[in-house]
Structures are given as structure tokens and as C-alpha cells.
Subunit: 248 residues, 2 copies
């Protein structure tokens, strides 16, 4: 029995998110189906965390136990041949038995893609958040700096989450601009439910002049979700990388 | 009656190409359906040229005559609200009556996207040509220089085309590299059927070491299609811009 870690790229457009659920097609389920063909029986896989419907990943990570003796370097191609084309295994390695995709993770990086243009983009429709008005990008950058560090991010979490400890550390939050495209790259030790999308929605409102810069400090202080911006749509969000102490 | 020119971005993944044809959904047809709703009757639109099934456009151009007096600056939004999300009108203007999207064009620019990586990309599957071996990028660039200028490109044209004059001028051919992504940007006064895709296929074979650099000159001299490379797949191709003498 080996403990296997896989890295997965996926286009979340056609899925009800990562996690297996009844009456819905999910990414986790598709990967478990592909693995079953290799292993000959059901295999439970553990992801580093869920992603919502429409959210994409360049580097989601999952772990599972495998009995069949397929060389680990052949696993990506073997699994990909059983997977739909919008899910790809891009790496596989054997890891120690106590390694777990979720519990061993020490950080994550997300990219959020904003498309600022008068008209919607046909090609980017499933891969960006279309904003059809001007954003003050330098104001958004200034506001984003107030989020870096260790804070109680409860005000940036969607209601309904059962998490109790809402203190997280944002290690870095950077913006890259390329014409109509704005990429927010955010790295931290962990993220609350919808945290990246609510941060994006809040920064967009600041960039649009609908909220003042000081709103960030007010949300952090009061922990009041209603003071933060809207939850930006899922299709702009990409889970870019999951960090682990040993393997990365 | 006004002569209107529109610029169109589209994701060609779900269409049988640009041109109206029986028993197939095409981009031209979708735009004509959207226009009919505004004009109240059938409107024939003329594109700058066809694109094949799966080929995309950042800036396809079409012209048509319009009777209804909708202000031209409102046309994009009015048309987009009647169009599927993978087709977007990104500009509209009134042009002189003798202006024609196809016959007035003096040049075109295409981008071809190659994704060079061991495993296929889930997110780019419909927007790039996946090559799972190493390409010698500097050799490809060297070979591409031999194509610049005025040549008879008959050897780079798919059979079955009825075009007689096969002399074209390639104004520029550049490569941009960004990690696993290679973008070929090619501009010329016009392109033969499948010319960009056959040029790509030939350069890929040169980059893979399967054809020598001198093959380019041999194809140009002999005009023999069988000496050129394969036709690279449609999903890597983007019609980027159409050039006109007055408007651009």
C-alpha cells in the first residue's frame, strides 16, 4: 500500500465544484471514477480543500492510498486517459503515509482574474470576472496592503461556515495588470469560505469608488460581513498552488 | 440605409466555423439571427473571411446594411443581448457605402498558441495546440524568418482551394515565449486556406528536429504541399485583427 499525492489542473466550468455530492457531477467524483478503473475498486481521495462550482485549479492537490503496483511516474497518463479533457493530472508522487493533502498543507495561493472592459469577453467568459466600468487600480493595490498580515478575517467569510477560528495570515497580495486584465495573486496560510471572492468584491467596490479605503480596517475591526463587498463570481478564481512543508 | 462595420470576438469551440451552412451552427448565422431581431427582417452580413470550426477570433470584422435607426454606439450592447455569450460585438461604426469587410481588407494578423508541456492542459484544451515533447524554439524562429516577404505559398495551402493567385506577403512573423506557452504572431496581406496552420505544423516539425531548416526554402521553391508539415489543429488559432486602409 502506497500513499500517493497527485496535482490536478481543472476547468471548473462544467462541474458542481470539487466535492462529491448527490445528483451533481464533481471533480473529485470524476477522479475517483478514473482511479477505480486502475485500482479495480473504490478509492477515496482527499483534496487540499473544496472549490466551488465554476472555480478552476492550476494545482489542486489530493492524496489517496493505492494497492496496485503502477509506477508512480506513469500514473498521470494512466489516469488522464480515463478522465474528461477538462481535468488533468499533472504530477504524481509517493509520499509518507502520514502525509494528507488537507491536513499537511501549510499554505495556498489563488489567482483572481478581473476583465475590465466595456464589453464582455467571449473567450474569457468562463475564466474571468467582467467589470464594465473603470477601476482605480492603484487604489485597489493600496487597499489590498491593509489585508496583508495576521487578522481575524470573519468579516470576509460567507455565512453558514462552521469554522470557529477565523484568524488567518495573508502572506502576500499582489496585482498584475495587463491591459484589460487584472490578476490578483493572493497567498496565505489558509482561507475561509469565499474569503478570496469577498476580498475581490470589496477591492472592486473600493476601486469603483463605492467604498472608502478605510473600509478594510473597519471590516477587520468589526468582523461584520455586511460591511464588506459582494462575493465576486466563481469563474474568475483559480486555485494556483498548495504549499507543504516537505514536498515544496 | 447605413453601411455598418462590426468587430467581433468569438470562442469558436462550439461552432462549425464562421460561414453559414446547412445543418450546422455557425457564428455568421448567430450574428444574423441577432441582427434580425433588431432590423425586423433578414440581414446578410459579410465577414472579412471564413474561420474553420474551432478557430477563435479577437477581432473578426463584418459589414452589413441597416435600415433601422439605432445609434451605432448602442449597437454592440443591443446585439450582444441577443447573442450567445461566446460571441461578442466589441465595436461598431458607420462606414462609407463602398466599404466591404472582405474586399476592403489589406491585411490580417493571426496568433497561434502552442502549449508545450508533458501533460495536456485542462484549462487551455480548447485554446491551444498541445505538444508533449521539447521544441527547439530558436530553430523555429530561425526557420520562420525564411517565410517573411513575398512568396508563392501554394505549398502551404490545403488542397481543394480554388484560389489561383497564391502569392502572398508575410509582413512579420514573431514568436513570444512564456514558460510552457509559445505564441506565433503572423501578419500578412492575406492568407491562403489553412496557411497559418500548415506554417505552424511545418515549424513544429522543424522545432522537433523532424525536418531540416532548409525545408522552408524547398517548399517555397517546389510549391509541394506534401513537403510541408501537418495542418496544426484549429483550436490554437486566433484571428487577431483585420487591417483596412482608412479605419485602422
Amino acid at each position: 500500500m502506497r500513499n500517493i499525492m497527485i496535482e490536478i489542473e481543472y476547468d471548473g466550468s462544467n462541474y458542481s465544484g470539487w466535492q462529491v455530492q448527490p445528483n451533481a457531477i464533481t471533480i473529485q467524483e470524476e477522479i475517483m471514477k478514473a482511479l477505480k478503473k486502475l485500482e479495480g475498486k473504490d478509492v477515496v481521495i482527499h483534496g487540499s480543500g473544496r472549490t466551488d462550482a465554476g472555480v478552476h485549479a492550476y494545482g489542486q492537490v489530493a492524496t489517496f492510498l493505492m494497492e496496485r503496483n503502477i509506477p508512480v511516474e506513469r500514473l498521470p497518463l494512466a489516469m488522464n486517459s480515463n478522465l474528461p479533457k477538462d481535468i488533468t493530472i499533472i504530477d504524481a508522487k509517493e509520499v509518507p503515509m502520514d502525509f494528507h493533502a488537507r491536513y499537511s498543507a501549510i499554505g495556498k495561493r489563488y489567482i483572481y482574474h478581473i476583465y475590465e472592459s466595456r464589453y464582455r469577453s467571449a473567450i474569457l467568459r468562463n475564466y474571468s470576472y467582467h467589470i464594465n466600468y473603470k477601476l482605480d487600480r492603484s487604489k485597489m493595490m493600496e487597499a489590498s496592503k491593509l489585508l496583508i498580515g495576521t487578522h481575524d478575517f470573519r468579516g470576509f467569510m460567507s455565512n453558514g461556515s462552521s469554522v470557529e477560528d477565523t484568524v488567518r495570515t495573508i502572506k502576500s497580495l499582489e496585482f498584475k495588470s495587463d491591459g484589460e486584465n487584472i490578476y490578483m495573486i493572493i497567498e496565505g496560510d489558509g482561507f475561509l469560505y469565499n474569503m478570496v471572492r469577498i476580498i475581490t468584491g470589496t477591492l472592486v467596490q473600493i476601486g469603483a469608488g463605492n467604498k472608502p479605503l478605510e473600509q478594510i480596517e473597519k471590516i477587520l475591526k468589526t468582523k461584520d460581513r455586511s460591511l464588506a463587498g459582494h462575493t465576486a463570481p466563481p469563474q474568475g478564481l483559480f486555485l494556483d498552488k498548495v504549499f507543504y512543508p516537505l514536498t515544496h
